[in-house]
Amino acid sequence: MVSAFEFVPAIAVLPLVSFVVALAFGKWMPKKGALAGIFATAGSLLLSIWTVLTVAGILGSETAYHEEIWQFATGIGTFDLHLGVFVDPLSSLMLLIVSLISLLVFVFSLGYMNDENETGLPRYYASLSLFSFSMLAFVFADNILMAFMFFELVGLCSFLLIGFWFREDAPPSAAKKAFLVTRFGDFFFLIGVVGIFATFGTGLFVTEAGFPAMAEQAISGEMPGTVADFLEPLGMGAQGWFTILGLLVLGGVVGKSAQFPLHTWLPDAMEGPTPVSALIHAATMVAAGVYLVARMYGFYLLTPTTMGIIALIGGFTALFAATMGVVKQELKQVLAYSTISQYGYMMLALGSGGYVAAVFHLTTHAVFKALLFLGAGSVIIAMHHNENMWDMGGLKEKMPVTYWTFLSGSLALAGIFPFAGFWSKDEVLYEALIHGLGDPVILVAWAMGLLAVFLTGFYTFRMVFLTFHGEPRTDDAEDPHGVRWNVKLPLGVLGVLAATLGFINMVPVAKLTGAHIDFLHKWLVGSEIVNAEFLTGLHVYEDLLPYESAYIAGGEVPTLLISAALSLGLALAGVGLAYRLYAVPEPVEHTKKLGGLRTLLMHNYYQDEYQVWLAEGVTLPLARVADTFDQGIIDGVVNGISSVSLFSGDRIRRIQTGVVSNYAALLTIGLALLLIAFGIVGGWF
């Protein structure tokens, strides 16, 4: 029987084909290339499902797969570079998420783009397909170079899609910013990649020959030869050097996953079409960063310093972004900041050792954030592309499907029981808490994450109430533009999932009842081969975990309950506050009450300003100074040499008077001087 694993490359290649088809022939196709994308991603989804089933062990005994598929660059006397496929529980799960969301986004785009008579659709669908291709290939990458390559391609696609409406001023600018800021992160990532290859001679994520395994050996004292050869002239210890490498790679993660301080591109990226935002935020670009940390988790676990920094960045970003989300007036802006904040939670989970929690939150977030963005897209269609929430209101009755699904997504985002977000966020905070009790850094990160729960509940429902409740505040809200099945279908699918997806890993229920219903946990534990050969199973990570678990109130179950109660309570408090302030027929702005803080928040803590200043106030003047220096000094010297030659030539040629007698006299004097010189040298005098 053919194995699904042989078709894994096709999961990515199908969208690539659709990219080529849409770009080359989209103009002449019905729906301008959308169908190609839909068929391709549907194919990817089917293959992903097959792959997941195979990994689950249902279709045979082979439950993980690693194969080098393309020799990229051959080295003689040194390492080779290759592209390869690696499938394990983590990557197969991610393949499933990405292909599902991509498919739904394609379908939704029929409503958002085609029905709205946009131009340039072949370009749109081609970019979207390329986006799916890059992300899928990134997901099954077996080495860090390949991961970097597709990580960068994801960046390209985001550039193309954010700048889709290139005839206006703002989208190209936002696209440039998105690419440049993530590029800045990728600069560090690339140094990390290069450093990993130089240190270990390989970039493989998995097996004993992979770099996490080699790093573990190096730290535990059995230094592999290549590592020793590299570290010796460098004069650094293994632990310190690996921390540096880990932090360098983290640079790319911070850029792509929009963590502080490289989060500034993401709110601007809202200039792109809304389905693209859904794709970027839920399943592709932003998820790539967090996924990368999960992929090379075995390496990060070796360096507690890096883990602490990841947790701290995550916790801080979760809180920091949530505060900014509170004052935004545009629907998509609120969602953008919520994305930053939610990815902060995933980073917090990863940094505090909650591998399962992070993957869990990544999964649920992919679903409910895609749902929220598509819902927002539906609202935006209805509102004739006005995104300001203060111009909306009362849409609840007019667009029930959108309202109920959006509500489902919002409850998940806010973390209200029993929606998906509650389970995953609760697990993140629980993991951070039990590991934080023994480690103050993690505890600080946990506290920030916990505080953000309240804000999340608040801004989420502020958004819901302002958009859907109360009285319509404009004519557009009075008479919204209708949406068709191609919008409602993806919303419906995601709405159901957002409500139910949490059930795949109900850890509190499992702990309380003793029933083994923590399916995701079991999934990530993986089979024998995943743990023993590929070293990416949960058992491997648990062995490496640098934290001790501690509990309050005397045990695991009470701690669990306290943690769940805390986060649910805070979330409900946030929702309640939003209800009090905004669930009225004629809501008014309350942001003035924040005083000076409001200005700070509206300006996003002046993060954009200082980054723009770094680019335009420091780098550009520096470039101009360099240009002046180059034209003035360096080229000046070159031109100076030529001027001196020309000038001296001009002067010396004046000896040529044209008078024959002068020439004769010069000849005579020259002869006389020569004779005298010979005389002196020859000793005649």
Partner: protein, 512 residues
């Protein structure tokens, strides 16, 4: 005899085109130049050289040797052959020549037959430079390249063409002179240990430590002096900061097809020669002075990129970014690791393609708008969608987008440089040089945003429309090549590795 065939055919084609009437010269030249493309691709497919042509283990492919002149104690031979370093460069030369000729159809509208004749003559000389294995022969070709280039800039160039052409000619000629003197110091130092001016003989003699003293100076001093002279001679050509100022002027004034060849192939002569002479013949000196050379490389990368950031003229931007890209080549070469030197060689080819692509894209826009100033236009993607699309692809290629050749080249250079034990504090140097990838993204994205995107606006009086097919077709060919090499660098990289592997072991304790 295939190399001779290439050279002689190109020369004959040059003569024929020179005689052809102006109306058909372009088409005629393009058709004729397809023959070298075919021949070189066929040579590539049957390439059987092993090792480095200059070193003892190497056996170049298509090697021919015939007695030419006897100069005193030295036999000067017609000696040509290709190894893994020169073969890709020959393919690059022939392909770029054809594409440059096609891209010249629109912008060149006077003295066409002379223009195409000179281009083909230059092609012959370039093939000679990359295949010659005898110093004097090589030098003749090296100098012969300058002559057509001088006229191509000086006759068909922009408003300041005379200044640019003379600057280019004088600058590179002075450099050649210094290089020539430096090389002959070595030849005299080798004395009786060589009987020909063949590059392999000289390289092997130098690496065997047979250099004697000249005029009372010890071999070490001679080597160092020769190294400096050669380095200066080639650094001008590359160009390495601070010997670069001829390049932007030459590029800005040169017509687009000439810029394509200048950036695409001529600059590679410098790095090719550096690899052949400084880093193969005098590897021990190069190693001993790795710090300084690495500083030259890093300064070229960062400073060139910063300069590009300050420019308003699209062509100047690409010109300065060439300086930056060539800095990577120097960094890779001095690393003396297989991926470093191999990546540097791959970067020569890759940059040839990508910078050619970039210049052509700028040229297509210029043909339609008659301006290259960023401030004079915006929203060009609205009127020229295909050109804009290729421009975007080219720019991302330049930024080192994966699956395009620039990425493979750069990442290999970085890996090679990072693990280098020759450069002190290699990770630090590499890390600083890598910041170039951020600046390059900065200026290219800025240029794209301002010219291609936004509302349409054009400050010149020309009616612009879609570019004709003949302008756009070469772009697609180049783009396809860039992507092919980006997906499968091994097409060239395998033979490059084979040829440079020996180089990386040179100069380690042996000899001086």
């Amino acid at each position: 005899m295939l190399v001779e065939l290439l050279i002689v055919f190109a020369l004959m084609a040059a003569g024929l085109v020179l005689l052809a009437p102006d109306e058909y010269a372009g088409q005629f030249a393009a058709v004729l130049s397809l023959v070298p493309v075919g021949v070189s691709l066929w040579m590539y497919s049957v390439f059987d050289g092993t090792g480095n042509a200059l070193l003892s283990g190497g056996q170049p492919a298509f090697e021919t040797m015939a007695s030419w002149i006897t100069l005193g104690p030295y036999a000067i031979n017609w000696h040509v052959g290709l190894d893994g370093v020169s073969m890709p460069l020959i393919v690059l030369t022939t392909i770029l020549t054809t594409l440059a000729i096609v891209s010249a159809w629109t912008p060149i509208d006077e003295r066409e037959s002379q223009f195409y004749g000179l281009v083909l003559f230059m092609q012959a000389a370039l093939i000679g430079v990359f295949s010659a294995l005898d110093f004097l022969l090589w030098f003749v070709f090296w100098e012969a390249v300058l002559v057509p280039m001088y006229f191509l800039i000086g006759v068909w160039g922009g408003p300041r063409r005379k200044y640019a052409a003379i600057k280019f000619f004088v600058y590179t000629n002075v450099a050649s002179l210094v290089m020539f003197v430096g090389f002959f110091t070595l030849v005299f130092g080798l004395g009786d240990s060589i009987s020909t001016l063949g590059l392999p003989a000289i390289a092997q003699a130098l690496n065997a430590g047979q250099l004697g003293s000249v005029a009372g100076f010890s071999p070490d001093v001679i080597k160092l002096a020769a190294f400096v002279a050669l380095f200066f001679g080639f650094a001008v050509k590359v160009p390495v900061v601070p010997f670069h100022t001829w390049l932007p002027d030459a590029h800005v004034e040169a017509p687009t097809p000439v810029s394509v060849l200048l950036a695409g192939v001529l600059l590679k002569m410098g790095t090719y020669a550096l690899l052949r002479f400084n880093f193969t013949m005098l590897a021990d000196i190069a190693r001993a002075n790795a710090t300084y050379i690495a500083i030259f490389a890093v300064v070229s990368v960062i400073y060139g990129a910063l300069l590009a950031l300050a420019q308003q003229d699209l062509k100047r931007i690409v010109a300065y970014s060439s300086i930056s890209s060539m800095g990577y080549v120097i960094l890779g070469l001095i690393a003396f690791t297989p991926h470093g030197v191999g990546g540097a060689t791959f970067q020569m080819v890759s940059h040839g393609l990508i910078s050619g692509l970039m210049f052509m894209a700028v040229g297509v826009i210029y043909n339609e708008t008659h301006t290259r100033m960023i401030g004079d236009m915006s929203g060009m993607a609205d009127r020229m969608p295909v050109t804009a699309g290729v421009f975007v692809a080219a720019a991302f290629g330049y930024m080192g987008l994966p699956l395009m050749s620039g990425f493979a080249a750069e990442v290999l250079v970085f890996m090679g440089a990072f693990e280098s034990t020759t450069i002190p504090a290699a990770p630090l140097f590499t890390g600083i040089a890598m910041f170039g990838i951020v600046i390059v993204a900065g200026y290219l994205l800025r240029a794209m945003q301002k010219t291609l995107f936004g509302p349409f606006r054009l400050e010149t009086d020309y009616d612009i429309g879609r570019a004709p097919l003949q302008d756009v077709a070469p772009l697609f060919v180049l783009l396809a090549l860039v992507i092919a090499l980006g997906v499968a660098p091994d097409l060239f990289y395998r033979m490059i590795q084979d040829a440079v592997f020996e180089v990386t072991a040179l100069g380690l304790g042996g000899g001086a």
